[in-house]
Assembly symmetry: D2
Homo-oligomer: 335 residues x 4
């Protein structure tokens, strides 16, 4: 970390600042130029609050050289993290195919979809029991009953299940859930992240709608700082000015995160685009760019249209996607 | 609400959809054109889930005419809401001046600032006890002790206090807090909003970093739907591509919200700009645009620079702002 | 197009508006509901100015059902457009590989890169002669001399050349250029687009930094409305809040544009990411998502570092990318 | 400017880079730390291309301390620039009130509005003759005839006129125009800016839809570098995710630009908000924040609704705005 001091900062002020920085366990390296003095900080600067430094009158600018995340940082953990989930895993050689309905609606629905996505190659079942909705008047999910239905499907198909948590007080309901999802709107719900850091469950952490990759990694860091290193990152589209798609899927997040972190990265092309026709090409793009898995919405009954989100695929269409994804993965691997 | 059906939708499909919509308590008005059929929905469409309709194969596009928020809507509640807070109020004739430190740090600090901002005209004291920080390694606030210090300052100065909540489980600690703040990162923490809807405390709800005014009002609606109508909206800057300022204060949110809702609107120029020199001009702009109040960071000791955020004013500078704000308010009122 | 009238609009006002709309060659279909009257407009509504309608006091809201672009619209031109460029083509079965240096710097540089990218499979040579730079103090390109050097490389290698125009007055210099590029900052330089519409040159039109796909297609429409239908669309990254990458490459633009338009679509992963390591994964993602081609920056001399943008590949790395792209294209085709 | 070198950069590489930097007229100050070497550059670094430095393999990061703009920089020109326009001026004590129709439509229209806005206190007349429109099918303005009508209004009322240029080839038509406007979409049309730099006309430069203040100042720098220092900056709203307003007026741009530059700053609340009811509160906010002037759309005939943009005021409403603005200016001045 480098801090540039304002012109006119006195030696006394520089000495006071240096003492304080040294007291934080850092080596301080001062270099006086003709117009500016530059202070280099060496050591574990993750503990230094950048805004606090910027708040000092004497400081013109601050520049981090090393990243503020540590547990998630590939520099300190060069090998890819592989997270075991039931009889499957995320990261490394295995490619995760997480599929299922947007919302759990009924036993019949979830059982049928579970069987069909398993047959089509899914490695995990997803389904919303607690649903974060912009409007308090919209359907909020089946809640505890929804989780029960997912567990029923897990018992029958053997597929591990992924479902979203919105409130740490609900954790007892998630005891048999395999992967706990944190939704985009809760990516910076730090209290929830801290609680999840005290569990040992795999956490699928979705990127917030307008959050940077650094912020995503800092949120992963909240979970990891509590002792839970089983974090799966999920790119699910960011808010941009484009209106034909619901959000803009940031595929470049995949190879960029690959550089920055050892954590596995999955991509959700369904929510990101909000358009069923785009799910296949974007799933292929994610696979080509090196994702560790995909999370795809599948519905079972096109006639039962009211439950059919504009971004959902039929099981047959999902099966077609999985086959094409595998061909692309093989083509990339050959390289 | 208007739904445009796709070319080729059968009469049978139209009839099925209409029955379902009527079963939701709506009047359905069908108008067949040469290429498209348009369905007009009349009644309380706040209960209709727009995405669910869009998910239907037969639907080309959906357009809301009335707003999806109800309790917060000025159309159903034309008079301005005035929220009483201790011996003062927000909304209506009174102009709220909420001032205090970013973080509560010590008894000495909070007592001194409280006395000074009161002398300068503040109507409430703000201070952070629970601090949402992007990094788990940054200072997270004095927590319960911080609230105790704020209550001490309240007892001495009589100023009502405003402080942020991050976890509904902490509510017992907020029993004597006058206004509970929901921070930008928790604007769509719907579980927290629901819990606050079951209290009768005034809630200061900050707009999220990349959220629209409609989303802000839908979050207010979550609180109000639970029975707590004491919601104060707070514009605190949105994320844009500009880098000289930390965020971009959306002053137009003030008159726009004034049209849409009866709830009071306060503006936080300190966090929005992140630059102390901009606090005064932006405070004046907010007052000129019709805000019901301001929330301003004030620190007490410029020498004790490490606690001095780049956006904080000294008490003297705050006093200068309050005087100028009052002149501008008088000038606007005369109009 | 549908216009919803405000409550209380008189029959007389409705009749006046309808007459005016009919005089614009449209069929007008009026449907009066209990609270709102809806006017449906049938015919060529591309000529109707949406903002002008919204400006009318009596109008509450306007919703286009059909798109405002016509020549570029796939609905009126279902087959993919294939644009012939020298002995190659863009669109259809051929996959365009456009490669070359960011800026043309010297004869030696451009000749060597041209030979090397041709050997690696490039189908066209790109190179900047006129360079749009944010700062007037930055290098502005070799201009006319740069074009001469590109033409020299074309004569030797047979590769068609692509280079950017910034001023319609420079058109005479572009007589032997095969594809004229319009840069992101000029996407809405309508005067330039109109002039290019009067040529018969293929135009590679880059999406603006914060522009929507609809705006991109409207800019293509400016060129096509002048008679030049040879427009190649180029996705090159949009501005978002992410800072690890220079821009965010919107891969979903590829399949989305495929639905909306018959024009070919190429992707520029070099400028979009600004990071050399991301060029290969993003090139593969673009190919997997169905792009018609790629535009990639290649430099020749890693030792000559000052001319080496952070997003450039060496010829060897480019050759590796082309091979992997072809494998991915084959894998997708098999589907 | 500070450049941080990558760990492992050889002394030889450092020496080569330093020589090159010295050859650009800079003093080079090298400071070797235990992990990183930092190079400080002292002198006129505006000529150093930041991207070019970042492109060097050996460089980890680059940080500008001084701004890349020079002629526009307040540091080198502490006094406010005052630009004389006819018998009035922009900057300094005078407050500019620029009013008129969005588009010039007829002699009757422009003459009547000119008389009425003059009576209401306008100091200049604005009106669009060349209109940049997203669609080639929308009205493109009366062009040369529109300028003639503005000149007629100028002769009768004495008001200086402001109108937009879209093509440097049209400059001869602007000979008697007092202020030439560059629209938001042309803010980075560098060829146009360069040509305007060779005139001596005052240029009103509008901020682009998604451009930063630094980019705005760099565009001003393009004009000033050509010798024309008469640049008026105009904040007119930026693109955000908000949809109730057309754009988001960045009022904080006013005091921020005031710090950065000596050029005068006017605000256009009409285009920014796109909502007539918001024009007055936002005009007052701009005045309170320290703007040097306002640019407001005024139409003359509310019955002639088709020409009445949703953001236009009547002359009477404009008169009310000017009075309120003057009261606010007086209140701020008193401070």
């Amino acid at each position: 970390m480098i801090a540039v001091l304002k012109n006119g900062t006195s030696d006394n002020q520089i000495e006071n600042l240096s003492s304080w920085l040294r007291s934080q366990g850092l080596d301080v390296h001062i270099s006086k130029g003709s117009t500016h003095t530059v202070i280099g900080l060496i050591g574990d600067t993750t503990k230094i609050d950048e805004e606090l430094l910027l708040g000092l009158d004497m400081i013109e600018t601050v520049k981090r050289i090393s990243e503020p995340f540590k547990s998630a940082n590939r520099k300190f953990h060069p090998d890819d993290t592989i997270i075991n989930v039931g009889n499957t895993s995320v990261g490394g050689k295995d490619f995760a195919l997480i599929a299922g309905p947007c919302s759990v609606e009924s036993e019949e629905q979830v059982m049928e979809i579970a069987r069909e996505v398993k047959a089509a190659g899914a490695t995990m079942l997803r389904g919303g029991a607690f649903k974060p909705r912009t409007s308090p008047y919209d359907f909020q999910g089946l809640k505890a009953d929804g989780i029960e239905l997912l567990l029923l499907a897990k018992r029958e198909t053997g597929l591990p299940i992924v479902t979203e948590i919105m409130n740490a007080n609900h954790l007892p309901l998630f005891e048999d859930v395999d992967v706990i999802q944190v939704g985009a709107r809760n990516m910076q719900n730090f209290e929830l992240l801290k609680e999840l850091g005290h569990t040992n469950k795999p956490i699928l952490l979705k990127r917030g709608l307008a959050n940077t990759l650094k912020e995503l990694l800092m949120s992963a860091e909240y979970i990891m700082a509590g002792g839970n290193e089983n974090v799966i990152l999920c790119e699910r589209g960011i808010r941009t000015f484009e209106t034909y798609t619901r959000n803009t899927l940031d595929i470049s997040a995949v190879p960029m995160l690959r550089e920055l972190t050892h954590l596995p990265i999955v991509v959700d092309p369904s929510h990101a685009t909000g358009v069923a026709k785009l799910v296949k090409p974007m799933a292929l793009a994610a696979a080509a760019a090196g994702a560790d898995g995909l999370m795809i919405e599948v519905h079972n009954d096109p006639a039962h249209a009211l439950c059919d989100g504009p971004q959902s695929l039929t099981p047959a269409a999902f099966s077609d996607v999985t086959k094409a994804v595998k061909r692309v993965l093989a083509a990339v691997e050959e390289a």
